[in-house]
């Protein structure tokens, strides 16, 4: 299965650097978080993607030059009620994608709240990307690109409009995040047993230690 693949090495070359990052997806329900992950990890799209309860975990590795970047992705439940679970997933994360649905203004407002919460409570220096999803429904758009662009710029976020359905900008956004994440030390072994930290432990881990 693609998502369980051991990070691949560029063939024949000496094993390159392998970096592992914990990434969390946040956003109102039904904006397409699970769909983005499914597109990124398995290259699939389901019209009737089931809702996510609690959270789901998937991994995917991409290659940047000679670095293999392995994402450990936590896809969370969108409903506000599940909010209390969210910190368990974003704590210790080095990257987050906050998703909204370009056809629904409310989901954009909700995204802003997530950004605020992350900036306040997540790992300092966390890389946050804002994704305006369902780009294929451009005709029904209600959140204008300028608006989000400006917001993202003012808040130091990366920003892209994506479509899990057509796969527009899906790999791109993960790639852009991977490029922005610091890749300092070198290691050949993929991390095993990375835990979800649900206490203060690890929440202040400096980002430079993300490569093991």
């Amino acid at each position: 299965m693609a998502n369980r693949a051991v990070p691949q090495r560029p063939n024949g070359q000496t094993p390159g650097k392998i970096c592992q990052f914990k990434l969390v997806l946040l956003g109102e329900s039904s904006v397409g978080k699970s769909s983005l992950v499914l597109r990124f990890v398995k290259g699939q799209f389901h019209e009737y993607q089931e809702s996510t309860i609690g959270a789901a975990f998937l991994t995917q590795t991409i290659h940047l030059n000679d670095v293999a970047v392995k994402f450990e992705i936590w896809d969370t439940a969108g409903q506000e009620r599940y909010h209390s679970l969210a910190p368990m997933y974003y704590r210790g994360a080095q990257a987050a994608i906050v998703v909204y649905d370009i056809t629904n203004q409310d989901t954009f407002e909700r995204a802003k709240n997530w950004v605020k919460e992350l900036q306040r409570q997540a790992t300092p220096g966390i890389v946050i990307a804002l994704a305006g999803n369902k780009l294929d429904l451009n005709t029904m758009r209600s959140v204008q690109t300028d608006e989000s662009q400006t917001y993202a710029y003012e808040n130091g976020l990366m920003f892209m409009e994506t479509s899990a359905k057509t796969s527009a900008n899906v790999t791109e956004i993960f790639k852009a995040i991977a490029e922005k994440l610091p890749k300092n030390e070198n290691t050949n072994t993929a991390g095993q047993g990375r835990r979800l930290v649900d206490s203060a432990e690890g929440s202040n881990k400096s980002l430079s230690s993300c490569c093991k």
Binding site: S30, Y48, Q49, L58, L85, L196
Partner: protein, 819 residues
């Protein structure tokens, strides 16, 4: 009186028709961005209601099948004799009484349909059928209703000659035919009957249309029609009341035309004594299958290998065009297709294919007449070897299901009497045919749930409407029925009704999944779905849907951890070491009782057993899923473990329920005691603990009550008394083993028990329930010792809640000398 005889022939009882739903033009999507639901699914959803219609003068609808390319197959009760055949195509002039009697029956049936929001719209002499006893049975009355007044199909409904004029002139998309269209059709039929002639037998369609429209200008429409039929004098000789009746049916002005209900009370029907007409009673022997309910027979026929599609194919009704002919000629970039339109004439085939029942009759041939009507208490006295076969095979076995249906039919009718018997039988298995009803009984749904449900406001907008609306189109949508718009509406209503009637609770994502099996199984009985959901949540998910449910969920999850430690210490140690806590994977399990995790057919088998268990049973299900995956889990690190649950591999449900029952039987009740479960009473020594306490314990606690009960049960157990020997000798539980440990020793990671007779006894009792007891203030020591035992992979470790002190009140303790 008719007699029953297993050798009597069984005529075909079912008729099949097929039609095509309209196809959506291009890949358009709805307002929610999702693709439009295929019309065939919409039809399927609407059609379900027709199965609930039951009137002595209507045939029963039995099945609606959806096939590729929008094909729908309808199965309903069918009789060969119709008004058309009975009158020898109207050549036969019938006595007035008979005509009136039939007409009255048709009106009764139409009135019933109208009161259920259904208009026939396809009334012709061919669709007025007669059963063996000459009872009128209306046929094909569902077409207009299930296609949403013809909106989901592209062909017109109705036979032109009998079609009311307004139907021809008004726009098909905006105009919905009301009950009075049927009055017109019936009027024409009765007129033809009375005059013994056909109206416009040789005219072409266009001519007929012109004729009907030309009636607009005429003062006495009925007389004009009679003249057209060449029977004017005959018409004029009809009794005035009859002419009046016809005039109230065949009336151009819809406002003046009477509806079936009004016609039913027309004075013509009191003027004649037609009720005394001798019915053609059938005295011949009948096969006992014909005493069974028709839907049961149909179900069994399918089990016996009956195949509706095959029957259609055999009659040449499923002509498949070669695929190349179906290719579009032109596809423009945004997706619209041109040139692949279906042949209009194939959209609705009016032919009705009968389903021969030979297969079923042969399969049940060796059954005796008493098998059809057994005494409940004697059922299953005989050894049925089928009972031991795997569930999936039993569910497909015609004879076995026949017996189950016969039995459950009686048990359900008796409910709530015979509940004990119902439980015993349900424990063996639940016949899929009756699953919805049996579940309702197991959940103790009774009383007037319908009016309770009716009285709940399901329409007023609520705060969680948006959430419900985005969740429903993602809920078990692989299932045709649940993906229909009717199903979406039902799910929403049931959920809203539940929320409104439980103000303490809120909508949590997942509640939709939980609701889906009930809606599916009680599709036409929303109130039962609602009552089942209510009872289910109360029993298994008490307080889980509180706005702040953290405490409830956390307790649930920690109990699962305890249970793993209790039954599978090796797995517990591994998961603990990897930090793989149930919070990471089991929330959707318990929040939805696995309904979000498994597809419907698996949920059915799982809940069949779950519903027989108590509120802790789901924990055992969780445990048995884990043990099914244990070898993979034991060889996996954190990431692999998590991935395993993100994409749950095939779980063998039959094995899972078997295992969970075993676990359940091997576990004293207090081990899974939860503070938040619904119970009638909590006794003083039940382990009712705060989460903060539970969290610090790796193994569960057992109550004194269970300890006392264990003495007289078949479960093996051993009490480990960890106090210093002097206290043990002074006073202890008879039969307990004294293994004195000190708290400070247990801190050492390498701590082990020194060899001694007690240790040998412990080793020899591996597998028994091990109950650790000490003074109540030695809580930490007890915890550490339990953890030590689990590390050593001793199964069934627990500690006695309340410690040795609690036992003082139970008169159990004795000086060790005495035994």
């Amino acid at each position: 009186m008719t007699c029953n005889c297993v050798d009597a022939p069984v005529p075909p009882l079912f008729g099949v028709q097929t039609l095509f739903a309209a196809q959506h033009t291009s890949e358009s999507c709805g307002a929610n961005g999702l693709p439009l639901t295929p019309n065939s699914i919409t039809i399927l959803g609407r059609a379900q209601k027709l199965r609930t219609l039951n009137h002595p003068n209507l045939v029963l609808h039995l099945d609606f099948i959806r096939k590729q390319h929008g094909r729908i197959i309808l199965v309903s009760q069918y009789f060969k004799r119709s008004l058309w055949t009975e009158t020898n195509n109207y050549l036969l002039l019938l006595p007035l009484e008979k005509v009136l009697s039939w007409t009255h029956r048709v009106l009764d049936a139409l009135t019933y349909l109208n009161s259920n929001g259904v208009v026939h719209r396809f009334l012709t002499p061919q669709y007025i059928l007669f059963d063996d006893e000459d009872n009128v049975k209306l046929f094909n009355y569902g077409l207009y209703y299930m296609t949403n007044s013809g909106k989901n199909i592209t062909f017109p409904i109705g036979k032109l000659k009998y079609t009311a004029p307004e139907v021809l002139v008004l726009d098909r998309d905006s105009y919905k035919s009301g009950p009075k269209t049927d009055s017109w059709s019936l009027g024409i039929i009765v007129l033809e009957l009375l005059l013994g002639a056909q109206l416009w037998p040789t005219l072409k369609l266009s001519q007929i249309i012109r004729k009907i429209l030309s009636l607009t200008h005429c003062t006495d429409v009925v007389m004009r029609l009679a003249r057209e039929m060449g029977r004017l004098t005959m018409y004029q000789s009809l009794p005035d009341e009859l002419k009046d009746f016809l005039g109230k049916c065949i009336c151009m002005d819809v406002k003046k035309r009477l509806c079936p209900k009004e016609l039913f009370h027309h004075k013509i029907f009191s003027a004649y004594e037609y009720s005394k007409i001798l019915m053609n009673k059938c005295y011949s022997c009948k096969h006992p299958l014909r005493q069974m309910k028709l839907d049961q027979v149909y179900y069994l026929w399918k089990l016996a290998g009956g195949d509706v599609e095959w029957a259609l194919k055999k009659k040449g009704l499923l002509r498949n065009e070669s695929p190349i002919l179906l290719l579009p000629r032109l596809i423009i970039l945004e997706g619209t297709l041109y040139g692949n339109t279906r042949n209009q004439s194939s959209l609705l085939d009016l032919q009705i294919v009968e389903l021969p029942l030979d297969l079923l009759v042969n399969r049940l041939q060796h059954l005796k007449i008493t098998d059809y009507d057994p005494l409940i208490d004697q059922v299953n006295k005989q050894n049925d070897t089928t009972e031991k076969l795997p569930l999936v095979i039993r569910e497909k076995d015609t004879e076995y299901q026949f017996r189950r249906i016969i039995l459950f039919d009686r048990l359900l009718a008796a409910f709530p009497f015979k509940l004990d018997k119902l439980l015993i039988e349900a424990k063996k298995d639940i016949p899929p045919f009756f699953r919805g009803e049996v579940w309702a009984c197991l959940l103790n749904v009774c009383g007037d749930t319908e009016s309770i449900y009716m009285s709940i406001d399901k329409e007023t907008a609520g705060v969680t409407d948006r959430q419900i609306e985005v969740d429903i189109p993602r809920c078990h949508q692989y299932n045709d029925l649940l993906s229909s718009s009717v199903a979406h509406k039902k799910l929403k209503r049931v959920l809203k009704a539940w929320l409104v009637s439980h103000p303490k609770y809120v909508y949590w994502q997942g509640l939709d999944s939980l609701c889906a099996p009930f809606v599916y199984l009680n599709f036409c009985k929303e109130h039962v779905s609602y009552a089942c959901l209510t009872a289910f949540v109360k029993k298994y998910l008490n307080d889980v849907f509180l706005k702040d449910n953290a405490a409830v969920i956390r307790e649930y999850l920690i109990k699962l951890s305890h249970l793993i430690a209790f039954h599978d210490p090796q797995l517990a140690n591994h998961l603990d070491e990897k930090g793989f806590i149930p919070d990471l994977f089991a929330i959707p399990w318990f929040l939805t009782m696995f309904s979000h995790v498994f597809p419907l057919h698996k949920i059915f088998h799982l809940w069949d057993k779950l519903l027989l268990g108590d509120s802790s049973y789901p924990l055992f299900v969780g445990l048995s899923i884990l043990t099914q995956l244990r070898s993979t889990l034991l060889n996996s690190g954190f990431n692999e473990c998590i991935l395993l649950f993100s994409d749950l591999p095939e779980v063998d449900i039959e094995k899972c329920v078997l295992e969970s029952s075993k676990f359940n039987d091997a576990t004293p009740r207090s081990i899974t005691f939860r503070k938040y479960e619904l119970r009638t009473e909590t006794r003083e020594y039940d382990p009712c603990l705060m989460y903060e306490v539970l969290q610090n314990e790796f193994s569960p606690r057992i109550s004194i009550y269970d300890l006392v009960e264990l003495k007289s049960s078949s479960l093996k157990f051993l009490v480990l008394d960890t106090r210093p020997q002097e206290f043990y000798i002074e006073k202890s539980i008879p039969g307990s083993l004294n293994i004195h440990v000190r708290e400070e020793d247990l801190v050492d990671e390498n701590f082990d028990l020194a060899p001694c007779p007690e240790l040998s006894a412990l080793v020899n009792n591996r597998g028994s329930i091990l109950i650790v007891v000490d003074n109540v203030f030695e809580l930490n020591k007890v915890r550490s010792f339990c953890r030590f035992l689990v590390k050593k992979e001793y199964p069934k470790v627990c500690s006695l809640h309340g410690g040795i002190e609690a036992l003082e009140n139970f008169n159990i303790l004795v000086p060790a000398i005495m035994y």
